[in-house]
Symmetry: C2
Amino acid sequence: MTEAGPGPLIWVNGERQSVSDRHVSARDRGFMLADGVFETMRVHRGVVFRLDRHLSRLTTGLVTLGIPAPASLGAWVLAALRSFDGPDASIRMTVTRGIGPSGVAPPDHTRPTVVVMLSSMPVFPPAVYSDGLSAHVAAGRRNEHATTAGLKTLAYTDAVVALLEAQRTGANEALFLDTQSHCSEASSSNLFVWIGGALVTPPTSCAALPGITRAAVLEIARQLGMRSEERVMTLDELFAADEAFLTSSLRGVAPLVKVDGRTIGAGAPGEVTKRLAREYTDLVTRECGG
Amino acid sequence: MTEAGPGPLIWVNGERQSVSDRHVSARDRGFMLADGVFETMRVHRGVVFRLDRHLSRLTTGLVTLGIPAPASLGAWVLAALRSFDGPDASIRMTVTRGIGPSGVAPPDHTRPTVVVMLSSMPVFPPAVYSDGLSAHVAAGRRNEHATTAGLKTLAYTDAVVALLEAQRTGANEALFLDTQSHCSEASSSNLFVWIGGALVTPPTSCAALPGITRAAVLEIARQLGMRSEERVMTLDELFAADEAFLTSSLRGVAPLVKVDGRTIGAGAPGEVTKRLAREYTDLVTRECGG
């Protein structure tokens, strides 16, 4: 994806910053130790899609990390939105434990660092939706045995490495298995397959993030009367699926048509995928007051 | 541990910074995605202990992450040392992919960010060495199936969470098993046991970092004619060990006398541990020209 327009707007602890500035201390534990969590949210017509759910997931992460949740998280997002008069946008909110001494042990008292970054909506190539994505199964595995599994912590190193590995094989995306060889998720999106007349997505016990878009798609499927299951899924089931797609806040519902060089279903975006993509777009429009 | 004296000295890409400044962009991928690696090095009498090995491990990490290694890494450490006229110190070098757009995919061209931080040597309570440490076995597991296993990436979130969990149980340290329940390492140090007349440490295939101090201790053991083994080790073996200790660049050789409330060996620093600790101190002194 590419970012259109000028650089993002950036706030640190509620204060507006210049994009060219340096914004955080090199002693910030977010920078030193990935000691923090973040959310990437979609803005449509000036409204964040399901802000409450993003903040709730962020707060769950902060609790596990023992970082006191700053009171003004929601207010800071809304303040950022007031500076915004464009079409769609994305907002990333990062909360770290703040500045601390070297070493893994957190200090007794810290003041969390909150960064809000508002960017124009990334532009995905139209082929993502019309032709679908290809994925490479990453050599590394997701760790379903981590205490932070299912949290959106800053520790995205493995996702970056997997995506680079995928790109070297000519694929668009990296797909992770967990340590028991079950399907988990893609580098920063959830996996769905349509197989045997049911919509299946790996459970969070396979280290899949409880995605906001994932939840919305499951909700839509239920409303449409589709059978849907969160359950353990093997790579062979993915290969045997009629359709597959990936979900994330910014890219939405993106068809997945090839994995490790093998065609999924007809090798083109399927009818169920296209239907869910349309319904999801409608849901965003509806909830954001469009 | 506590840090004595004034704040650290900080350089960003070779430029000296004020400690109170903000030093890096919130768009730095080190801050956003833990997209980088680091080293923590011990300085004795103005000399970094085994700087070449730290830089070599750092470079291995950069290669896996596909980050071009800046040419001046060694020179920047040496420049930092010239500003230093105290006794022992620690140096942390962090290298990230640099500023990039949002999203996991790295941009084609980035300029890595290099932060060098020189701090006074942390002061560990004397009881760490005289009485020994207690450890709690972390609920979360280390992932030996990650492509980044064995690299010192910025993704220390799990270590922070495990250490907090340990502190809540009253223990000083967190000990990780890997996903197959083999002993791996502590939150930021390697594990050794003395059992059946041999020194045993988990192999890097159990997601143990190839520690610089770990390598030095194995070297010393060989020189002393001790039998030493890098091999898979269970928690039961740790409980049955005659002695145990943890190694890291700053804390050196630290006795481990209790794990999950169970006493290891005599429950006090053992003779082998004390001998290796002395020999390690001598090695550092000798190699740093003291």
